[in-house]
């Protein structure tokens, strides 16, 4: 199940990458409606995948922690392979 987790995480990373790219672009092109639309869609998709991931594998932000014992401290931390 390592692979399924990896795969889902990669998809989230890919969507977040698009999000930040659009974020930076919109900062200097605030009137670009098409970019804004793509941004909104990307955020929506990313939130969905993130929900799935966190439900199955645990929180990716501290505030999403929702089980006992406190799950946030669990490995893997991002720098661990």
């Amino acid at each position: 199940m390592h692979d399924a987790r990896e795969k889902l995480l990669r998809e989230i990373q890919a969507l977040e990458f698009m999000e930040i790219e659009l974020n930076l672009y919109l900062n200097t092109h605030p009137y670009d409606q098409q970019a804004l639309m793509i941004f909104r869609n990307t955020v929506q998709q990313r939130k969905m995948l993130l929900d799935n991931y966190e439900r199955m594998y645990g929180p990716l932000t501290a505030s999403a922690s929702n089980s006992f014992p406190w799950p946030w401290i669990e490995s893997p931390w991002p720098w661990e392979a």
Binding site: L9, R10, E11, I12, Q13, A14, L15, E16, F17, M18, I20, E21, L22, N23, L24, Y25, N27, T28, H29, P30, Q34, A35, I38, T42, Q45, P59, L60, T61, A62, S63, W72, W77, P78, W79, A81
Partner: protein
Amino acid sequence: MWVYEKKLQYPVKIKNCNPRLAKYIITQYGGPDGELAASLRYLSQRYSMPVEAAKATLNDIGTEELAHLEIVGTIVYQLTKGVPPQILEKEGLGGYYADHDRGIYPVNGDGVPFTAAYIGVKGDPIADLVEDLAAEQKARATYEGLINMTDDPDVIDPLRFLREREVVHFQRFGEALRIVQEKLNEKPFYVKKPDYAKEKPLSNVSPAANIGPGSNVGPAANVSPAANVGPMTNVSPFSNVSPAAEKKKK
């Protein structure tokens, strides 16, 4: 304020240790053109920036650089993990090991510790933004040098990602500079300090009027950062992941 997400912006999975390479790569952690310098520079410059688009750009790129700092730290960590001290010493990390063991400490490729002297925060929007353009180019060039020093695809992959980000940041800073110049040209506006203006009244044209990588005269004449480049004009580095990631703008 900052929210932390428990994942890297781009994955790092290094299978083979290489302490000598780590010794050089750490320069992008604590060196003059590294991610700590970048994030500190941009996050410090944003306070005094008078134009919203530039504030946002500095804020968000500064934040992204912190994520890059984490990637570089991870690369160094994985390259040295489990390597015995004798080997670390043989590969040039003896001094570093003595002071820091396996810790990640902000130094350059020669072990010189990080200093705020690496960054400029002039409080002048033009000076600050052109410094940022230079910083992105220096970071890009450094990543190219580091990539040249290895054949390991596990290391080249994240380094190449980081290099590409620098190129995009350069673009965005160029746009922010153009926007600031346009704002400054809207009405007479002294960018210089008040006592200079008192001694020698400036004309109504802003000193920033004729400067710029977007004009024909300027340092970056053949590489205009202000050219209209949308996001993701290259294929996303995650393009092998999912169809959603392939969507390009225009």
